[in-house]
Amino acid sequence: MPDVAEIRIDEVKHTLIRAGVPSILNPFDEFAVEEALKIREQLSGDVTVISMGPMQAKDALFKCLAMGADRAILLSDPKFAGADTWATSKTLAMTIKKIGFDLVICGMKAVDGETCQVGPEIAELLGVPHVSYVKRLEIGQDGKSLVAERMTEQGHQLVRSSIPCLLTATKALNVPRMPTLISQMAAKKKPIEIFTAESIGAQKDEVGLPGSLTHVLKVYTPNLRTGEGRIVEESDKDAVPGLLELMKKGGLI
């Protein structure tokens, strides 16, 4: 049965320039890939990694292939540029539907956007349940259901879900394996397939900036106070007394 581990590198929003900027594999996605590989070891199947991004994203996909993924797909098309989480989720869901899946695993969030939205949105679009913030996972040997430990504010929950479903991975889920020299050489032989909007049958206005439903009006640097404070050296005999003074003045001691 085919497994799908989906990694996602968000496209540029607003005015950030991506050209020439190296893309990294979103740290959380590494845990997703590792979990998919472990499931394949347990149950057999294929691990496909998908990413939407500029051509630099190939490096991140290569890393996934070097970890042991079977297939890599890069959704790369100028039409995808400027996508918000809705357009991104739509694009990825269309792709996943097209190639077929039993299980989709995403990183819990991307370290640039940090919305934690795309995973559950894709699940809804695919018409499957999802379990988010997964710390531990047990797949039934029949591959039809799983039990996941899901993080909560107060601790965790044990959640059972039928498969097909979607999971989002936390850092606690596993320890991602390091690619070896042999696996890297094997990875070089695997192609990174490029999919465009046409490949997935997406209309121009469904994806990218035109397909986005949230628009950035502007960005600004967070307004941080400037201290104009008194900075002293450790050797200054007044260093610690000065601190005590401040505390006394504030009525704190």
Binding site: S132, E153, A239
Partner: protein, 327 residues
């Protein structure tokens, strides 16, 4: 807006959302409706009414027994389609985010997640402010194309305020919708983990923030001693939480807690933007760091450049004698 409750107790973020929602509703000249899902929640109505919603809808039923995001998003969708709100707000909690995301995808609308501010701008637009690009920038977002416009609000940022005028509040009941037939999902067990001794970050007058410059987690003993003397709460930067020195519940900063103490003692904290966002409104920021170029010194009102581990014992004994003097 969708509130949050656990086992019949309202999550504080519900009141924060009601406060934010009220402001937005009045700016847009619209009604504020609160949705709350769960069973036997009538006892919460009194408290909720004090925060001024125009309508409260309690969604209950066999399916609402456990929090399953798919049940909640389906149930809310039914009501949303009927009522056609222009804005829907959710808490940016683990559960709230799941529900909001599924609902957004279901309705085919936008969602601005983890917002630090929600307001109506000069052009009567509902705008959402959230950190972007790993927190180095703030983005101001609008959703001009679709309605409802969804947003999740970060907890502990808006100060909850009761309504000054009590609206006549309409209470309605609705039935929770079950899971789609193909989904077999259940919560098997809920586990509460004992919270670490952290003091109350939100209420303490003094908060001590610990960064990687502390050197090693063993030095936390000294930090905790100082915290006891100062009646301070202890928090940390993302670096120390990621390293496992402190639990996430004590993380201060963009992806942690935003606090407003009288004094923030930054020990071994370099002062990354993402961390400083969490203590922006502290009255005094005191920093101790071995690196004179550390960005924290740019925002500190008082700073000592030096080795934290060697300075701490001296500070502790000085505070100790001051405290015992008074006693």
């Amino acid at each position: 807006m969708v509130g949050e409750q656990k086992d019949g107790q309202l999550a504080a973020v519900t009141m924060e959302l009601l406060t934010a929602g009220r402001a937005i509703a009045s700016s847009l000249n619209q009604q504020l409706t609160l949705l709350l899902i769960g069973n036997q929640l009538d006892h919460l109505i009194g408290t909720l009414e004090e925060y001024g919603p125009n309508r409260i809808v309690l969604i209950s039923g066999e399916e609402a027994r456990e929090f399953i995001p798919e049940v909640y998003s389906e149930s809310i969708a039914v009501l949303a389609v009927k009522a056609s709100p222009s804005v829907m707000l959710f808490p940016a909690t683990y559960d709230g985010r799941d529900v909001a995301a599924r609902l957004a995808a279901k309705l085919g609308v936008g969602l601005a997640a983890d917002c630090t501010e929600l307001r109506v701008d000069e052009e009567d637009r509902f705008v959402q402010v959230r950190p972007a690009f790993g927190g180095n920038l703030m983005a101001v977002i609008q959703q001009p194309i679709t309605k409802p416009q969804l947003a999740t609000l970060r907890p502990h940022i808006v100060k909850p305020e009761k309504a000054s005028l009590k609206n006549g509040c309409i209470i309605e009941q609705a039935k929770a919708v079950g899971l789609p037939k193909s989904y077999d999902k259940a919560i098997l067990k809920t586990v509460r983990e004992v919270a670490e001794e952290s003091g109350n970050l939100d209420e303490a007058e003094v908060v001590i923030g610990v960064g990687r410059g502390l050197g090693n987690p063993g030095n936390l003993k000294m930090v905790n001693r100082l915290a006891v003397l100062l009646k301070a709460a202890v928090g940390g930067s993302r670096g120390v939480v990621d390293a496992g020195w402190l639990p996430h519940s004590q993380q201060i900063g963009l992806t942690g807690r935003v606090i407003s103490p009288k004094m923030y003692l930054a020990l071994g904290v370099s002062g990354a933007v993402q961390h400083l966002v969490g203590v922006r409104t502290a009255k005094e920021i005191v920093a101790i760091n071995i690196d004179p170029e550390a960005p924290i010194f740019k925002v500190a009102t008082y700073g000592i450049v030096g080795d934290l581990a060697s300075l701490l014992p001296g500070i502790i004994s000085s505070v100790e004698s001051s405290v015992t003097e008074k006693a």
